[in-house]
Symmetry: C2
Subunit: 391 residues, 2 copies
């Protein structure tokens, strides 16, 4: 590795630290502007796919959004252009040093035929936070949201006419520095692609089994687990296949000597139980740096607080806590939360050679089912809410 | 994030676990073969750059090596082709989930005009280990080395005629799966690019100052710190700039509550001292999962063991150990090691608001200088060694 040489290029260009905010003419270049959008329409629109059985993230719409940045010229005009391959320098920092991050959100078509996004500014905020961690230049979140709104508008016929399918939106942000120095990139590319996705489970969320082991650790204090950076995900694939080898469907990510329960697969985690003090409680691990601040997670917490029917806590939960509660019949249910499935119940955990069975009501009476209904009612416009953003 | 959906695509294709070793016709497809190489020569060779003041990894040679893999067809023929951009699907897993890894090695031209690589099979072994961690398909290491040898041969005029510059070799390996599922990729691209690099320090290794803090942690048990995966590097850039803000040149990476000393910037770390038991010792942290198994590191250990002049240890070292040793004048020197600089002395460490000054002989009498001379004598063919591999 080009260790020392890399640092030489860093120390050789200390002024680059301000380059993100200043263009070559010295003027402030804080962000691209949606009003400068250039639109080039595809001349070869594709047929829309059958939604039934469509694998996640395999089909893309006719257009994509691209916005380029360089340290010399700042942000360029946003472009909506026909969907196509990227041409990248083989030395670029997104391919060698994972200077890359992404977001995941969805556009939903209501029965009123309106298309809505769900709390999209939270995705924009998180994307900007990830960008800072990755040393990628900042941008104006409202301008990016308006660019995405325009892209969805251009491809609006791709938003499924369905009350459970949706159009997945994938903003992506890469360092495109064409050199091998490990440093803040002098070029970057922000782009957004769209993919129609079927309902994850046609018959409602099916419960999953989890492999809980300390062999692989998803994230750690001082790392990037609270940002949506690519490195968090590639490192997890190995563990996912080992879970399958153990006959489980996903990984329950543990942390620390006390085996804290942190996340499930690529979802946040909730435990609904009677806690050690005999209180009915909905609990999820706190945002202490190793937990991804999920938008579904935040929405569930806010919903439950509004209901005011039980205690709602961001707190540490260990495997020991869970084992004791299971023995004492204090666990009501456990579920993951994420953009794809909204909520996903957990039926079993394989831990230290023992299969822990979790209660899992599948008749719609569970808390997970109630949350699923409330959130999808908002997303599909069946319930009015200021969490919606109309395209 | 498409959590559950991603796992669905995994569970939906369990048989893919064997796809790496079996082609579509069921035959074993273990690796590409160098003997199948297809060579397309560039029609527009570029002028060679001035080596003086050349920034690391910014200029590339006329050709590159590319080898494609797919789960259906296995490995394709290796190609040497004119250097150029890659065309990548915007959903590909190297750009979203950092399914990517690399290696770093060099070709050196001796005064005898022969071109040599330094222990290249160690890079091939490590690359295969990284590939396993990244869930990328395996390959035959000797075949890859032979492909790289051919590439260097084709671009041999780019190996600097110099006894301190060299040709940096960057093997890179990407998942090119064109879908957003977090899973083992069904397509991959292995490629190699070459970049002439100046001697890191024209006047020999200059000592660097380090910022030691627990705000950022490079790697952790259960993570990917012992593999050369992109995510390790992108996550470190932020810390590198914070070190600069503190007036230091690089980061000293700490680990654990006892503040173990692990690595320096992107280098391994050595402490040459009189240890707690009064023994003269060259020490470096053990390969316990958070340390990159550097080839320079291994070579220094092997050299020093052969010398048999002092104790050579792979052992834990904490900031407390170092502070005590400095107070008691037991530290002889500390240095980083890596492919770029070979060895790089450390002059100062900023830790908990205190500047720790380290002894740093700059007259060539240091252990770092002796190691530098022995290793570069081998690399440039001035000393015969079976560590050399002739192109």
């Amino acid at each position: 590795m080009a260790s020392a040489a890399a640092s030489a290029s860093v120390t050789g260009a200390p002024c680059q630290q301000n380059a993100h905010d200043v263009g070559s003419n010295g003027a402030a270049v804080h962000s691209f502007k949606a009003s400068n959008m250039v639109i080039e329409m595809s001349q070869t629109p594709k047929p829309k796919p059958e939604m039934t059985g469509l694998a996640f993230g395999t089909v893309f719409t006719d257009h994509m959004l691209t916005i380029e940045w360089s340290s010399g010229e700042g942000w360029q005009k946003p472009h909506i252009r026909p969907f196509g391959n990227l041409s990248l320098h083989p030395a670029c920092s997104s391919l060698h040093y994972a200077v890359q991050l992404f977001e995941g959100m969805k556009a939903y078509r209501g029965q009123d035929n309106r298309v809505r996004l769900f709390r999209p500014m939270l995705n924009m905020n998180r994307m900007l936070k990830s960008a800072k961690r990755a040393c990628l230049p900042s941008f104006n979140e409202a301008e990016l949201l308006e660019c995405i709104r325009k892209l969805v508008e251009v491809d609006q016929e791709w938003v499924p006419y369905s009350d459970n399918a949706s159009l997945y939106i994938r903003p992506t942000y890469l360092g495109t520095e064409a050199s091998l120095g490990v440093k803040r990139p002098s070029r970057a590319l922000l782009y957004v692609i769209l993919s129609p996705v079927a309902a994850y489970f046609s018959t409602g969320a099916k419960a999953v089994s989890l492999w809980a082991d300390c062999k692989y650790i998803r994230a750690w204090k001082g790392g990037t687990g609270d940002c949506k950076m690519g490195g968090n995900y590639g490192a997890s694939i190995c563990a996912q296949y080992e879970a399958l080898d153990y006959g489980c469907q996903q990984v329950l990510w543990l942390y620390g000597d006390d085996h804290q329960i942190t996340e499930v697969g690529t979802m946040n985690l909730f435990l609904y139980w009677t806690n050690e003090d005999g209180e009915e409680e909905l609990a999820t691990p706190p945002l202490d740096g190793i937990i991804l601040p999920g938008i579904t997670r935040q929405s569930i917490l806010e919903l439950a607080l509004k209901w005011d029917r039980f205690k709602v806590s961001e707190r540490y939960l260990t495997m020991g806590d869970l084992q004791r509660a299971l023995k004492e019949n204090r666990v009501t249910e456990m579920f993951g939360s994420g953009t794809a499935c909204v909520v996903c119940p957990v039926s079993r955990i394989l831990y230290q050679g023992e299969a822990l069975e979790l209660p899992c009501a599948e008749d719609g009476s569970s808390l997970a089912s109630r949350i699923m209904k409330e959130l999808t009612d908002i997303q599909y416009g069946r319930t009015a809410s200021d969490w919606n953003f109309e395209v």
